[in-house]
Symmetry: C2
Subunit: 476 residues, 2 copies
Amino acid sequence: MARTKIKDILRSEEHGYPVTVKGWVRSFRNNQFIALNDGSSLNNLQIVIDLNTNEEIVKNITNGASLSINGTVVTSQGKGQKVEVKADTVEILGTCDGEKFPLQLKNRPSLEYLREIAHLRFRTNTFGAVFRVRHSLAFAIHQFFNDRGFVYLHTPIVTASDAEGAGEMFRVTTLPFDNPPRNEDGSINFTEDFFGRATNLTVSGQLEGELGATAFGEVYTFGPTFRAENSNTARHLAEFWMIEPEVAFNDLNDNADLAEEFIRYVIKYALEHNREDLEFLAQRLIDEEKQKPQNERSEMGLIEKLEFVINNKFERVTYTEAIDILLNSPAYKKKKFQYDVSWGIDMQSEHERYLVEKHFKKPVVVTDYPKDIKAFYMRQNDDGKTVAAMDILAPGIGEIVGGSQREERLDKLEQRMNEMHIPTEEMYWYLDTRRFGTVPHAGFGLGFERLVLFVTGMTNIRDVIPFPRTPKNAEF
Amino acid sequence: MARTKIKDILRSEEHGYPVTVKGWVRSFRNNQFIALNDGSSLNNLQIVIDLNTNEEIVKNITNGASLSINGTVVTSQGKGQKVEVKADTVEILGTCDGEKFPLQLKNRPSLEYLREIAHLRFRTNTFGAVFRVRHSLAFAIHQFFNDRGFVYLHTPIVTASDAEGAGEMFRVTTLPFDNPPRNEDGSINFTEDFFGRATNLTVSGQLEGELGATAFGEVYTFGPTFRAENSNTARHLAEFWMIEPEVAFNDLNDNADLAEEFIRYVIKYALEHNREDLEFLAQRLIDEEKQKPQNERSEMGLIEKLEFVINNKFERVTYTEAIDILLNSPAYKKKKFQYDVSWGIDMQSEHERYLVEKHFKKPVVVTDYPKDIKAFYMRQNDDGKTVAAMDILAPGIGEIVGGSQREERLDKLEQRMNEMHIPTEEMYWYLDTRRFGTVPHAGFGLGFERLVLFVTGMTNIRDVIPFPRTPKNAEF
């Protein structure tokens, strides 16, 4: 008989029908009650086995063992579940030795310990919930853009472009370290490398996204991006997934509207499709924060926070207004900021957190940053000092979105590239979009793992990607 | 007024309402009729401008220029369209100089030429259609798996694992070529590299996918994979996207069922959502094949072929049966094969094409290959000679899917790894799934670009990925 998923059995009101279920033992008590989990749901299915079940089989029903059960769905006599399965046959598919099983060795394994056994942590309630939510968010992202007629564009991962200045890059090569080919002047001869030139892992698909937007109107990317920065923090990964929509004919305001609508949509989707998982994660967060002093705990519960984001417009302020708020803040006046504040600074994390968590107490869209701290491709405002950039800052996370209207005027773009020493000849393909039927356009990038952090209430980014890549770590 | 997409105007039966449309000029005739395209559809919208329109504006309505039009949707007097837009105002957003515009310079630009200007080729009918279809296939893939409860798992791109033997790999590094750190014995000291060890770009997410499947039951990956093979063919890319589902409790037969259902689903989705694009591509294929001798042309049209795949079960044969068919074929007897045929060979492209295109004339699932030509993780059959592998071969494409039931028995897996000199200690995390609650499971990989080739009828894989990466080429 085909296997029935535990999620479907638990969801149905029916009983009295035969099923085959398969999964892993989460607990076994009184030699009679098995809590079985197959990953389809946070919740386990209770299996009741006959007290006369073969002793050899009973001995092997241990935590982590895999079973196949034939039985009947019946209404449950016990508390905590509506239905359970009365087993007719129990087959051990795979045993699990409790003396060796890493998940069995510690009573309440810490997140740090589970990170070391990331290949098994999917089998815990916390990581089961986190990665089902991650899945739902990913699907919601595709659905959001597909419904609106965006074209999903796979921008290249290996790239020869190094002009974006978005961060340090990883080299991709097939050249040997021992006696690499050299030019006459002693430099490495990259024309002998696989791609005939020096290549890196992409830091962003935006520039290629613009090529798509100026043909399809609306495109988005959703793919891996890379930063070779030696940042060992709870917010940085060397390999992470990014979503980058790019829309022809949009200005900065349209861009902020799109980002808000997008963030609300995907959070709403997760609340609707992963309620049990999110309620479990909300409780986990409460338990975790019990160890913190009262004033460091979240003011809202996880679900409450997500519903707040869905139901309230984000605050919008210009960079100039934001700096004024900081200069007039009690924190500034009492010299509580570590870094100084003045117009022109690249705001530090402490400044962003003050704006979002203390002042506005909601997500904030900051626009129109000084041009000197932003990338060459951002549209220059008429004041000569700022560009049409925007960052969205979220409580507890900091920057979650970075975007801008793009400079569509060829002369202004070339001038800015020259000022910033970005080679215009090499970037002829990018400039061609401004030469041939240029259009106003705008886009943004959203770090997927930061979104997952925000929605799951997890606090370390290594806990929301299956196999994190960080300095000195590429395990699994 | 907010812009209305051309697709929505052409689709609607309504008229008499005001619109703003924006897009790029595809043609302009009689100083009055503009064919405007905004990428939302293959079809252009006809704009009728006033004969008294300002001369300066009329002069700048050239192919490739971008316009913003305010006007009224009216029923069309001309042939070829139901509605058109009578313009009230025409604004030139961006001019386009026909003397310099690459798409204007050649009358019917070849696919090869368009590959050189891949940053602009999205603006042609052919590539517009190809990449809208590619988008639809990608979305259909996510929808197929989401509907069935699969978890989308992002497996790592940078990996230290080099044990899979799936192909040559690209090194990922931040070490300098000049004076790289060395060990005492003179070898490169990779502990100084970013990840503290030697790392590469992934060739497959399967092994990590198995870690997910043995917790969530059903997972899939959809991400970029890499091969550093110096293959300059119409079927190979150095960077390509792959879909890899992995399912706990599935055997080889379930695996083939899933692959068939999956392929049918996504093709059906494209036929339903991209009919115009596919009809255009079908005509393109007919035109292309006119240059071929009659006997080399496709027997079926593109749409006909896709409908055939949807409506007919794939053929299933064992490798042993396939070899017998080849040995008994007229082609073999007349010595028309370049490579010899005997039990144990890794079938060549000519053999696969014979089976699919001449003998069965439909997609074929070949199962149970000799173990010596397949990977270590495939489940060993009882005959001691073969493994529970499967390849799906498609007409005109060759191998489109490769998969297997996985060896879930720890002792047999370890034995095979030792025979094949694969380090079991390094792969402890993979073997742990067999140590702790092992389950039968199976999965497959499908090369996304080969699927797009099959569905669009394009013949060179460089024409179905936005920016192809091939030996000596990483442009854009």
